[in-house]
Structure formats: C-alpha cells, structure tokens
Symmetry: C4
Subunit: 240 residues, 4 copies
C-alpha cells in the first residue's frame, strides 16, 4: 500500500519533470521539479545534471524533509536546499519548480517585479509577480542554494503574499521559482509565468505602461477563478 | 432535417474551437468560440474550463439567444454573456471568438488602438483595430461579462464602425474579441488579428511610426478584397 | 518536347510556391511566386486566393508576357501586373516573389531601408535593402498593382542597383518583393530577406546602430560568394 | 586501429555539424563545425556550401593542421583558416563552431560585448561574452578568414580570458565563433550562446540594465559547475 503510494508519487514527479522540456521551458539538463509528500515525510526531486530524455522513475532522487538521501543512486538537483526551504516555510506547498525559462529568466535578470498588466495575469496571481533582492555576498558564499530559498520565503512574508495566491517569484539576477499544491500544479504555474512575462515584455514593446490594472479588476478575475464563489469551469460533480 | 442542421452547426463550432490551439492562439483551456444560428434561435459555445484535446460534439454547450441552457451537460464558457451582447447588437454576426493570444493580448494590455500601419492590415480592417475604454468599477462588480460585451458594442457604435469591416476589438487591460458571419470566419479574424498585432510590434521595433497609411491606400486594399467591385480571389463559379 | 519543357516549368513554379508555407513566410492564401520563360514567352503564377494545401500543377495560371491569359481555369494572383513590370524592366529575372513575411513586412511598414549591418547581409546583398517611396494617390487609384511594380523598377534604377546584386526591395507601407534568375532563387531570396530583417530588428534591440558596415567588408563578403573570383562553395564539376 | 579512430573522429564531426540545423542555429548551408585530433595531426571540417540534409561521412573534409587537404573530394568550409588559427593558439581546443545564429549574430552586429546579466550566463562563462574590434581594411583584403581567427585570438589574449572559461566570442559585424574540448562541446557552447544572447535582448526589453552581476555570484555559479570543487551533476563513477 505504502509502496504503491510511493511509486505513484515518484511517477508524478517524473511526469512533472518531463513536462518541462515538452513546454519549451528548459534547455539541456536545466530546470528541476520536486514534490513533498508530508504524510510519508519524503521529498522527490530530479537528479542533478541528468538529461530529460530517457529519465526513469529510478532516477528520481528521494530524501527526507531535511534533504538527507533515502537510498538513491544519484545526486539530487543542486537546487534541492532551495526547494526544502519553501516546503519548510509553507505547509500548503506540495510541489516546487525551478527553471531558467526565457522570458521569466529575462525578467529576473531585469530585477523588476512584473505588475499585473492585464486579466490574463489576474487569472493566476492576486497581485504582481514579486522579485527578491539580489543576494548579498554572505548569502552566496555559504549555503547558497538554501539562502536562495530563504530569500524567497523572506520576500513573500515581507510582501504578505499567500503562496497559493502568488505561485511564483523571480530570484533577482537568476530565474524563477514556482510552486503549487502538487508538482503538476507547480509546473502549470511555470508555464503560466513564462507566458505572463512574455506578455509583459510585448506590452512594453507596444507602448504600454508598467502599471497595474485597478484592484477591482484584479480581484474580479482572480476570485471568479479561485475564490469561494468561483464560477469558472465545471461543478466538481460534472466528471471533469 | 432540423436534427441534421443542428448536428452540423455543433460540429462547426467544435471545429472552430479546435482550430484555436492548432493556430497557437490559446494555452490550456483559455479561449472560446461561439456561433449563433438565428433561424434555430440557438447559440453554441465551448464549455468552461475544459481542455481542447479530446473535446467532443456532446461537450459543446447549447443555449437560447438569452443564454438559457438547452439540455447541456456542462457549463458554458463564463464569457458567454459577452458573446450574447454582440449577437444581440449586430444581427449580421454568426460567430464570436475570445482569446488571450499573445500579441493581441499585449496590445490590449497596452490599451492602445492599433493603427493601420500597412496593407496587410488594410486587407482585413477598414481602419484601425479599436480598443475599448477600461471598464469602470461598477461595470466590473456586476454582470462583468455582459458589461464587457456592452463595452465592445458601445465602442464600435461610438466609432461608427461596421462589425464586418472591423472584425476585432481589443478590450483594454484584457484581450481581444473577434467575429464574423460564421464561427470559422471569426476564428480566421482571430488568426489575422494576432499577426497584425505582431507586425505592429515589430514595426515599432524597426523604428516605424505609430501612424496610419493614407486613406486612399486603406480603401484600395480593403475594397479590392471586400467591396462590391472586389477583384481578389476566384469567381464564385470557379468551384473554389 | 515543348510540352515537356512547359510541364517542368509549371512544376517548378508550383514547387516554389509550396516552399513559401513550408518556410513560414505566408499565412493562409497570402503570397505568390511567378516565373517567366522568355523562350516560351510564358509567365506562370499562383492563382488568386487559393490555399497552398492541395495546390496542383493545373491550378498554376499561365499568361503571356503582357499578362493575357493562356487557357487557364483560374484567375492569376492579383499582383501579377507588379511581377510583369519587373520582368519587362529586367531581362535577367526569371522568378519573382511577393510575400507579407513578418519581419520584412514590418520593415516595409517602418518605411526604412535596411542597411547592411553585418556579413550575413553582405553575403546576399551588395548594399542595403532598399525601400520604395510610398505610392501617391494617383498611383493607387489606377493600375495599382502595375504601379507597384513600376515603383520598384524606378527605385532600383534611381539607386543604380543591379537586380541580381540586390534581390529584394521593401514596398513602403506594404511588404517585400524578391527575385532571382529562377522561381527557386527568388524564393531563396525571400527566405534570406526575412532572416536579414529579423537580424536587423534584434540588432537594434541589442543596442546596435542603424549604420552599414565598411564598404571593404561588404565587398569582401559579397564577392567571395558572387564575384568572378568567388571561392565559396564547390567547383561546378564536383557533382554538387 | 588508426583507421577505426579516424572513422569515429569523422563521424563525431559529422554528427556535430548535423546538430546545428536540429538546434535551429543555421539556415541553408550556413555554419560549420570542425574538430582537431592532435595525435593524428588532422582537422576535419564541413565542406563549403553543401546542404546539411543528406551529408555523409565522406563529405567531411580532412586537412593537416596547416589546412593542407588530405585526399578529400570537396572543398573545406571557406572559414577553415579561422578555425586553424584557434587550434594553433590554444592547444586545449578540440572543436570549433561558426554560425550566424540569430541572437548571437545580432549581438555581433551590435558590436557590444554581452555582460553577465544573470546566473544562466555565469553557469557557462566566467565573465562577459567578448566582442572583437571590427576588422581593419588590411585584415579584410588579405587572408581575411585567417585574420578573423587571429582577431579572435588577439582579443582573448588582450582580455586575459582562458578559452575554456570563455567558450565563445562575437566577431564584430559578423557573427559568433564557439569552441570546446571536442566538436560536441563546441556545438553545446553555440546552443548556450544563442540562448544567452536571447536572454540579454529580452532583459533589455524588460527594462533591465546592461550591467554585470556581482563577481561573487559569477564565481559561485561558474565554479559550482566547472571549478575543482564543482558539485553540480553526478560523480564520474555514477555511470552518467
């Protein structure tokens, strides 16, 4: 039973990782998806520097919630400590993704939060896409990957953002992290984020301003999809 | 007979919806196409939040012209009231499309009408691609989707634009709506609109000005394709 | 014998037309390729408004060098008179292409000649990519398509450009025409032109200047490929 | 034995060349990859002006380290002398690539070094992507291709860059050269370079500054992947 649950958990993490190249979000071995099963006390993540093509369930690396290896053949993604910091800080998270997807990485390099420029954005984020401060020398020189995760947590808390209403952040001078209740939801956030950053870039090119839409429009779109009275999509009993 | 007509009508709406992902105009479950058959008094539209892959005729939602459901299993697209406002205002329309296609959504976010910058544009629009005013708080808080449709109708009337000579509009801070005599024609408009917005963005990048071509060139191109003396394409009896 | 020659001529024009959608240079029924066989006194061109998919040799329209139909079922592309003006003016031309390919059409809309910004450009054009003046009202109101061709001829002559050393032009507010010794060469020019206009747009985006490379570098690259002492590629007897 | 080694060497060069079109880095016959086997005293390179489709091992041209032909049927790429200059100057190089890939060629046309704007860049380059000075008239008029290679060598030496920590350069007004220990590594550099130049262009578009990240972040990323204490990827005995 437990064995079956673990097997299906690992497969979901593999499948989430494999969606990254299919969606054009990664190049080579870049990017990684993890998931946490808190009932099992297990985190599963992509192995470091291993190509996506031909990746098998046995390649997915298992650790405990502190990142200690659980009989895995391969090294975990070197970004694992950043993922763990997010799982520790936010119990509602079940999946985390890190990519260098093109438009989101460019926005991270620009070190600018992306304001909510339209309803496409408002359908997924209840506010802007935040950016961390650049990491200080001391944060880079020691426990760099963990400090990256802590910087994300600190930024979300300072801005009083709820992670599930703000499913992504730009790490300044680096790239995006995204998350969700599951690995699949975290990858969905990564796909949406890339499109939103692309829309923002093209809005500027077309002469638009770097200024958010009114809050009433933001609320309307976010809440018709995610609020208690959401009316987008099908009733849960519709079979979809 | 009626049954057969209805079946073929539904299939045309399904096919029009399925063209959206093929043309790269939508992501995930975004976007929707509807059609109205005024002789039957029926509107058919994509179901809300349902993926395109595997969509079947039975998934298409039928309503009357006021949006009252006609024995359908699924909820209609939440944008249905915007479509209905267009059908009510303009009897010549048989199909309506809403997407967040990349360049058109960016232009909508930029809140700027796209002037006719060249003959590619003039082949399809007899003038610029208009943009609505941003919706007011009162329009968003109540009957938002219907108000979106009303804002489109109001803008076209204020600008004295004939819908079939201006087959698209940008809803400010949101995205495009397009239309035509049929669902297929409305999707064609959506494809053309995306390309025109892309051309406009690249024209700016290449140092061009945001200024329309002379009216005599606009008329020439629009009318050689659409006027009473159109001479583009084949005679109707050519079998094409 | 003549029949065989004509058949192969028509097939080459069909094949050249079909390369346009394969290269992503056209959308829908946009664009057209023609070829002239001066020994036969025949011009072959794409039919007007006919989709590329499923196009057959019998759909290609034949005319004499003045554009008078030679027993063809379909109407020729409405741009035929522009093609004919080019064939009349420049006996060295055997193929002409008109597209609205994205970056080239954007450059045409920007109404700016594209300077030779690098050696990629210099490998194909002995100088900038010229742009015509916008057409005057009188040129548009009467024999518009022929006047478009005449404007191209006039511009090339005024700039003293040899057509085979300048295989494309941007018609202001409209789009590109390209040409070559054959229909296949003209399509090759269309593909190259699109890439050069894309490179120019991105050079600007990356902070480059709108200023040509030195003439000695232009000459070097153009002549190592096209001059009497060209040394690029294989000897003609190499079997390639 | 030697025969087998040579065969496998030629096949690796063919395979490296064929990756260029697969990665979208070249158009038509553009671009070329070479490799040097210093133990054999042999350089293998793409033939000049020959299409990638259908290229066979027998088409790869072999020369000695001075570029003298070794019983090959075809002419080598006309850029061979530039490749040879790199092999002569830097004994650590085993593969060299020249392309006109879109974003890298645009950066070369812009004549600007690309600063390290983020960690994606720092994972591959220990500093900026340098640009040569434009070639002088005398360098172009005589032994142009060799002078291009010498300009690259001179620029790297002047900037005190180690080739394996700076696996690419932009030749001003021309395009990129990349390199590595093998032909495959050089092509990998070409793929990465294109993505880094694209990121740089989009960073500007999104309002970022043309300013490198702090040196401590640059060092951290470069060295976690390439330094003596690199911890990215798998142990060499992991079978990967």
């Amino acid at each position: 039973m437990l064995r079956k649950k673990l097997k299906s958990f690992i497969e979901s993490v593999l499948e989430a990782n494999l969606r990254l190249p299919r969606e054009g979000l990664v190049f080579g071995t870049w990017g990684n998806v993890s998931a946490a099963d808190r009932s099992l006390g297990v985190v599963a993540i992509k192995p470091s520097g291993v190509p996506y093509a031909g990746m098998k369930p046995a390649d997915i690396v298992l650790t405990d919630m502190e990142g200690r290896p659980l009989e895995s053949r391969l090294n975990p993604s070197s970004d694992l400590p950043a993922h763990l910091a997010l799982y520790r800080a936010f119990p509602e998270l079940g999946g985390v993704v890190h990519t260098h997807s093109t438009f989101a990485a460019a926005a991270a390099q620009a070190c600018r939060a992306v304001p909510c420029l339209g309803t496409t954005h408002a359908d997924y984020f209840h506010g802007d896409i935040p950016v961390t401060a650049p990491l200080a020398r001391s944060e880079v020189s020691r426990d760099y990957e963990r400090q990256t995760g802590e910087a994300i947590v600190r930024t979300l808390r300072r801005l009083r953002r709820k992670p599930l209403e703000c499913p992504a952040i730009l790490v300044a001078q680096h790239g995006p992290f995204t998350w969700g209740k599951t690995a699949a939801a975290a990858v969905e956030s990564a796909v949406v984020l890339e499109q939103l950053c692309k829309l923002a870039a093209l809005t500027i090119l077309l002469g638009g301003r770097w200024k958010p839409i009114p809050e009433y429009l933001l609320d309307k779109h976010f809440l018709r999809k995610h609020g208690a009275n959401a009316y987008y999509g099908q009733r849960d009993d519709s079979g979809r």
